[in-house]
C-alpha cells in the first residue's frame, strides 16, 4: 500500500462517514418532533454533505483516476464504502437519531481537532472548516441527549435503550489497521486508539448529566471502516441514494 493508496482509504473513511450520516439525518426532513428540530436536522445534514464534497473530492484527487466526489458517492457498491457501521444504522426514533449523532459528533470533533495539525495541508484545511461545524453539532446533540435523558421517565428509557443499542458500534472508531498506521506514521492522522481517553471523558461527562448509564461491555462490531462487512442497512440506503445516478448514468444534473 502506497502512501496515496492509504490516504485515499483514509479520505474515503472521512467522506463516507459524513455522506452516510448526512443521508440518514436527511431522512428526517419534514418529520421531526418540532419545527426547530426540522431546521436543525436539515442543517446538520447540509453540513455533513458539504464536508463529504470536500473529503471525497480530495479522495478522488489523490486517487487520480478521474473520479470526483459524486462518482465516489453514487457509483460505488456497498463493499467499497468505508464508513463506520454506526452511521449506517437506521434512524429509529428521534432519540436514537440524536444519540447516534452525539456518539459520532463527540468522536468527530476530537478527530477533526487533531487533523487540523495534519502534515497533509489539504487534510488540515478541510478539518479546519469541518471542525467548526462539528463543534456546533456536538453542542446541539449533547444538549439534546441531556434534555431527553434527564427529561421524563419515558424519554429516559428511550435514551437508555438508544445508548444500549448503539454502544456496540462505538468501539470501531478506535481500532487501527494498516491504513491508520500508515496515516499515523506520515503524521497525516492520529492513531485512532489515541482518541479514546478524550472520548471516554467527554461521553462520561455528558451521559452522566443525561442520567444515562454507559453499558459495561467492550464488545465492538467491526467491518464498516474497512468495508469487510457492512450491515444489511447500507445496501438499502444505497438503493435510494444512488438511484438516479445508476438509472441514468449518462445524465448531467
Amino acid at each position: 500500500m502506497t502512501r496515496d493508496q492509504a490516504l485515499f482509504e483514509f479520505l474515503c473513511r472521512m467522506g463516507d462517514n459524513t455522506l452516510i450520516l448526512g443521508h440518514r439525518v436527511s431522512e428526517w426532513c419534514g418529520h421531526a418532533p418540532v419545527l426547530e428540530e426540522d431546521i436543525a436536522l436539515a442543517n446538520t445534514a447540509l453540513d455533513l454533505i458539504g464536508q463529504t464534497q470536500l473529503w471525497l473530492g480530495l479522495a478522488g484527487e489523490v486517487e487520480g483516476e478521474g473520479r470526483d466526489a459524486d462518482k465516489l458517492a453514487f457509483h460505488r457498491d456497498a463493499w467499497d464504502f468505508r464508513n463506520l457501521l454506526l452511521v449506517e444504522m437506521p434512524n429509529g426514533d428521534f432519540g436514537r437519531t440524536l444519540m447516534r449523532q452525539f456518539l459520532f459528533d463527540a468522536w468527530h470533533t476530537i478527530l477533526l481537532g487533531r487533523l487540523m495539525t495534519s502534515s497533509e495541508p489539504r487534510v488540515a484545511e478541510i478539518a479546519e472548516k469541518a471542525s467548526k461545524e462539528a463543534a456546533y453539532h456536538l453542542e446541539r446533540s449533547a444538549d439534546t441527549v441531556v434534555s431527553l435523558g434527564d427529561g421524563t421517565e419515558e424519554s429516559h428509557a428511550r435514551m437508555q435503550a438508544a445508548l444500549d443499542y448503539l454502544w456496540p458500534y462505538v468501539g470501531e472508531m478506535f481500532v487501527a489497521d494498516a491504513v491508520d498506521q500508515a496515516m499515523a506514521e506520515e503524521g497525516i492522522a492520529p492513531d485512532p486508539a489515541s482518541l479514546r481517553p478524550e472520548y471516554d471523558a467527554l461521553l462520561g461527562r455528558v451521559l452522566k448529566e443525561a442520567t444515562l448509564i454507559i453499558p459495561d461491555s467492550h464488545f465492538a462490531h467491526k467491518g464498516g471502516r474497512d468495508g469487510r462487512m457492512h450491515s444489511e442497512h447500507l445496501g438499502h440506503l444505497l438503493t435510494q441514494m444512488q438511484w438516479l445516478q445508476r438509472a441514468y448514468p449518462d445524465a448531467r444534473w
Partner: protein
C-alpha cells in the same frame, strides 16, 4: 363603521403598519390568523414533496441545495407562526387545527413529486407562483406579517432561480431528462395556476381583504402576471406549456390562456387530491411520534429552572 374602525381604516389607507398591540377589528384579526396560519402550514407541509427527493438527489451539490431549501421552508414556517402568535394564537393551536383538518394548506402540495424534474418544476412554477402572491404582501398592513414576507421573499426568489436551473439542466439533458422536464411542466402547470385561487368573481372575502390590505391584488391579476412571466421562460427552456389555447393577445398585451379545471381544485380542497391523505398522515405521525420529545424537553427545562431557583 364605528369611530375605531374608521381610524383603523384611515391608518391602513395611509399605509401605516398595524402592530400587534394596536386596536384592530375582530374580523381583521381572524382573517389574518387564517391567512398567516395557512401560509405557515403550507411551508410546513411543503417540506414533504421536496423532502421526498432529498434521499434521491442525483448529486451532492443538488442534495445540499435541496436540503438548504427545505430548511428555509421550515424557517419560513417559523417566521409565520411567530407572526400569527402576535395575534394571540399559539403555534400548537394552529398545528392542531392543521392536523384536525380545520385549517388548510396550499393545495399544490397535494400533488406528488414523481421525478427529479419535479424539483425543478416546484422551484420554478410553485415558488414562482408563491412569490407572485407574496411580493405584494411585503406591503401588507399588518407589521409582523409584512416583515416576515420581506424575509421570505428574499429567499424564495433564490429558490425559484434554483428550480429554473434544475429545469434548464433537464431540458438541455438526455432525451429521458427532457421527457421528465416536459412531464413535470405538464403536471404542475394547472395546479400552479390554481395557486392564485378561484376567479375573483367567485371569491367571497376579496373586497374586504383588499380594503384592509391583507390582500393586495386580485387573484386574476396575479394569475395573468404569472402566465405572462412564465410562458417566455418555458419557451426559453424549449418546453411546451400544456395549453392549446395559449396565445399572445396583442391587444391586451397579455397571454390568453385556459382556466384550470376548477372542479379538480375543489376536489383537492375537499381532501381528494392525490396526496392529501399522505401529507396529513405524515404530519400527524410526526406530531404524535414527537410527543415524547416535546414532553421531555419541557420537563427538562422545568427541572433546570427549578435547580436554578433553588440555587439562588
Amino acid at each position: 363603521m364605528t369611530e375605531e374602525e374608521r381610524r383603523f381604516q384611515a391608518r391602513v389607507d395611509a399605509n401605516e403598519k398595524i402592530e400587534p398591540k394596536d386596536w384592530m377589528p375582530e374580523d381583521y384579526r381572524k382573517t389574518l390568523i387564517r391567512q398567516i396560519g395557512q401560509h405557515a402550514h403550507s411551508e410546513i407541509v411543503g417540506q414533504l414533496p421536496e423532502g421526498n427527493w432529498i434521499t434521491r438527489a442525483p448529486t451532492l451539490e443538488r442534495k445540499a441545495i435541496l436540503l438548504a431549501k427545505v430548511q428555509d421552508e421550515a424557517g419560513h414556517g417559523l417566521y409565520l407562526y411567530c407572526a400569527a402568535e402576535t395575534l394571540g394564537v399559539s403555534r400548537d393551536e394552529l398545528t392542531e387545527q392543521l392536523l384536525s383538518g380545520k385549517m388548510k394548506y396550499s393545495s399544490i402540495f397535494n400533488y406528488p413529486t414523481l421525478t427529479w424534474a419535479d424539483m425543478g418544476a416546484v422551484g420554478w412554477l410553485v415558488d414562482g407562483a408563491a412569490i407572485m402572491n407574496q411580493v405584494p404582501l411585503q406591503r401588507t398592513s399588518f407589521g409582523p406579517y409584512s416583515r416576515a414576507m420581506i424575509r421570505i421573499c428574499k429567499e424564495e426568489s433564490f429558490h425559484q432561480r434554483q428550480g429554473y436551473d434544475i429545469m434548464m439542466k433537464m431540458a438541455q439533458g438526455t432525451p429521458a431528462q427532457k421527457k421528465m422536464a416536459q412531464d413535470a411542466l405538464n403536471r404542475f402547470w394547472y395546479p400552479s395556476l390554481m395557486m392564485f385561487g378561484p376567479s375573483d368573481k367567485d371569491s367571497v372575502h376579496s373586497a374586504q381583504s383588499m380594503a384592509w390590505k391583507i390582500k393586495m391584488n386580485t387573484n386574476d391579476e396575479l394569475r395573468q402576471k404569472f402566465v405572462d412571466q412564465t410562458v417566455p421562460q418555458a419557451d426559453y427552456l424549449g418546453l411546451t406549456v400544456p395549453d392549446d389555447h395559449l396565445t399572445w393577445n396583442e391587444e391586451r398585451g397579455h397571454y390568453d390562456f385556459s382556466e384550470p379545471d376548477w372542479s379538480e381544485f375543489y376536489d383537492v380542497l375537499k381532501g381528494n387530491g392525490p396526496c392529501n391523505v399522505d401529507r396529513l398522515t405524515a404530519r400527524r405521525e410526526a406530531w404524535a411520534e414527537g410527543q415524547w420529545v416535546r414532553d421531555a424537553m419541557l420537563a427538562h427545562a422545568r427541572k433546570k429552572a427549578a435547580t436554578k431557583v433553588a440555587a439562588e
